[in-house]
Symmetry: C2
Subunit: 215 residues, 2 copies
């Protein structure tokens, strides 16, 4: 075994345990995110999660310390999922219009994928916590705001690239696209039927066509 | 005092008490609806409501009997408010296009009016209960579905009256209008700022213009 390989692999029992701990922590937080969209993040306590994942409460306390720490860790983990499934691949697209289309399509696939049975994790938590200020609410709202911001930036880029009419208000256009996604997500969560997701796809296609520069 | 006046007024102690009871029940259910959009309808128990309205638990049990009866009575009362503020005045409008516009405007005023701090009562309850089957969830979803149905019917009437292009898919157009309202409501609940409501107004205006028959 070369020195390089030794540096790349866990070389001690302690590092091995930490790596198992990371995997276990991620699996626990995936289940926590799932539970939050089904039963509400308010109900996401250490004892409820312990029951759901079949671990002891004391084991979970060692991971998270308190209910609010658990809720915030759940949001952070869901944000990583959202970045990996929705945002990051879209930002790699080669043009503004393509970036906007991929933000839409990735979002709809993330909803349809069923990782969170209650639909978009952040829409669910933001709706539940709208009137309950604090870091849980703020964490969810921030991700929704960032998504809207990415959409608006992509529209501005598309305008600069000549794919969207300069007369369009980019914030308004981003709002309208986001609106189709928002209702599609809410209806999918209620019906578990992909028809509203296809309605949103059609609405976005038509809206982007209508926003093309006059010939 | 004429006989007519006597017939119009409560004439016995029993009728007087019943009338007071109705007023009291309505006031209690208004507060219950408000609480449901702030703290969640799952948290709406008889003891929580007793605390909020300053009544004894036994007094509220006499009105509602159980937590689920209270939740359903709260939904029924909110449905009456929604009919009176949003649906009924719109259905009285003289044309399909005017009916669609009034459904939109009445909905936005109902949200902005602040009767429910967490925005549309039914959007809030449906989001919270999406994955929790039962009469509470179904009651909220039914009102949302009826609203979407009224929008679609108004669009079909507008098509029949020549105000909307016959080539438009009425269900799709109703979905898009409903989407602007859905996101506006969600953003208003989070920001308590009316800017998203105006975005929705602008989006609906533009969409209805785009749906006009080709000249």
């Amino acid at each position: 075994m070369s020195n390089t390989e030794i540096r790349d692999e866990p070389s001690t029992g302690e590092r091995k345990r930490r790596s198992d701990g990371e995997r276990s922590r991620n699996a626990i937080l995936r289940e926590a995110g799932r539970l939050a969209t089904v039963e509400g993040i308010t109900g996401l306590s250490i004892s409820r999660l312990a029951e759901a994942v079949g671990m002891s409460k004391s084991g979970l306390f060692a991971h998270f310390g308190s209910k609010q720490e658990l809720q915030i860790a759940t949001i952070d983990a869901a944000r990583d999922v959202f970045a990996a499934q929705v945002i990051d691949p879209a930002l790699a697209a080669p043009s503004g219009i393509e970036r906007a289309r991929q933000l839409v399509e990735n979002f709809l696939r993330y909803v349809e994928g069923g990782l969170y049975p209650g639909g978009c994790f952040f829409a669910s938590v933001a709706a539940e916590m709208a009137m309950r200020p604090g870091p849980v609410r703020d964490g969810a709202v921030q991700v929704l705001d960032e998504f809207a911001g990415h959409l608006e930036t992509a529209v501005r880029q598309a305008q600069a690239e000549g794919a969207v009419d300069p007369a369009e208000d980019p914030e308004q256009l981003a709002f309208e696209i986001d609106a189709y996604l928002s209702l599609a997500n809410a209806q999918f969560a209620l019906s578990q039927d992909s028809a509203p997701l296809d309605r949103a796809r059609g609405a976005v296609d038509d809206r982007i066509k209508a926003a093309a520069p006059a010939a």
